[in-house]
Symmetry: C2
Subunit: 328 residues, 2 copies
Amino acid sequence: MRSIHVALALLLSASPCLAQDKVVLVIHGGAGGLAKKSLTHEIDKRYRDALALALMAGHKAIKSGTSLDGVEAAIKTMEDSAVFNAGKGAVFNRDGRQELNSSIMDGKTRKAGAVAGINRIKNPISAARTIMEKSEHVFMIGEGAERYCRDQGLEMVSPLYFWTDSAWKELLQAEASAKRKAGALLKDPPHYGTVGAAACDSDGNLAAGTSTGGITYVGPGRVGDSPIIGAGTYAENAACAVSCTGKGELFIRQTVAVDIAMRVKYRGDALKKATDDVLRELPKIPGGAGGIIALDRNGNVAMAYSTNCLFRGTITQSGKIWVAIHEE
Amino acid sequence: MRSIHVALALLLSASPCLAQDKVVLVIHGGAGGLAKKSLTHEIDKRYRDALALALMAGHKAIKSGTSLDGVEAAIKTMEDSAVFNAGKGAVFNRDGRQELNSSIMDGKTRKAGAVAGINRIKNPISAARTIMEKSEHVFMIGEGAERYCRDQGLEMVSPLYFWTDSAWKELLQAEASAKRKAGALLKDPPHYGTVGAAACDSDGNLAAGTSTGGITYVGPGRVGDSPIIGAGTYAENAACAVSCTGKGELFIRQTVAVDIAMRVKYRGDALKKATDDVLRELPKIPGGAGGIIALDRNGNVAMAYSTNCLFRGTITQSGKIWVAIHEE
């Protein structure tokens, strides 16, 4: 029975996303310094459950819709969970404010939407999609983006919606640490809690999206790679769909997401090789630069990280879920 | 004599920027719908003089410094001129405000700086460079970016500094036109007045930068490709330096600047071919998508546009200036 499946899979491998039970959605919930031995059962379960919920929501949306629906549903679920640093779980900057960033891209049309510096729209990923689909623009920031999305009927919230006890405690710790010793923050193992997704639907159309709540105690106005098309997010049917998490500055400078896609497109690199190489070529920093997920039309998946862990998971066409935090 | 020069140039063509009087700086002052027959002597002279001034300022800075100095000096000169839609010449958005955007990139280190949504820093290109060199970040927006740059000692101005009579008249015209007929704006020939530069210094290091004052009567918060590394600006010694102007949304979606660089780097495309191809592959829109300038370490220059004109110019190592607006 198994050998028949393998033969079928080989036969069908040229058909985008139609072969035997291929991965249709891959997600990440950030990369970080959390060591395997420090992972309590409680934290482990909390993240695994949150990843599985997002995978199921995305899977359902892809089945009844498109890869874009899947990316939005998976990321929205993670934004609402307060488990990750995105949406409800966003962290405070040095002004004691949240500045949320997100982007989404359609691999079929290469249309894209992105938003940065917002704290009144409940789901930044939906803001990015609304800008992509309803406006004549790609990228909107701050109050102008908020007003536009409100006029388009998106769910608005008070900035207080994003205030969580855990983000508040993190801010106080970071502030105390900064006062104790300049630069001490940099020595803590980094945690990049950004979330992201890459999906392929039954038409073989790819999509990718990313959403972040920033960095605790960061300078106001700083924008990372999450809302930058080509850096944190990229999707093109002829290449792949990519979402990144990590030290955003490095991902912008090396245009990580599109670099992976271009190696696949122009040089015929295998998806895994392109992803591993681009990550390895990033400047080295203590704790590691971050993590990347990628998916192509043939169901090939790449997941790479230079941190201790990457919260990640996949779901197949038939609904088989796999989640992981460290090397398995 | 001529054949000796040609032979020498061929002999030296492998040495970055050191061969016979190669181009060391290429600039643009936007692309647009202005037809050759509508170009009065006065407008022609105004633009050519402004381009020549910027080329001379950039040339001087490269001679005594680096390609980054050249890019900053050339763009600063254009920002201060009020001739182009950048810096002093920025246009008003639909709120009657200016939102200036800029970015710069160092081809040697692939470090970059970018800024968006500011109207209190006199020279956005210097803000981008300050963020690149002084902060741990790449991209900063809005008031947070302004506060950071003020603290770094950059020259600050009142938002009123950017109010010019011509931008004000353009806003009134656009508003009247929008009231008369929805969509009428789109039928006017587009003018993308963004400025940009690409330079190579005697060490063979490339740099690129872009600066814009937005689009008249555009929705507040909209950001185009100018501050996006990989879209409006990209520089990498192993490939080329690129600056774009045009319908920014298309340039973000197709990551124009880095796409050109990746075709050169991964596929060995000639710079001119890569530039022409990427421009041609942009979605077609009435009036044309925009223009691109690019320069590599060997002094190869590419300038392409799908609009009626591209305000552009080059200067060689010895100081020979060439400027053009239409096909020559």
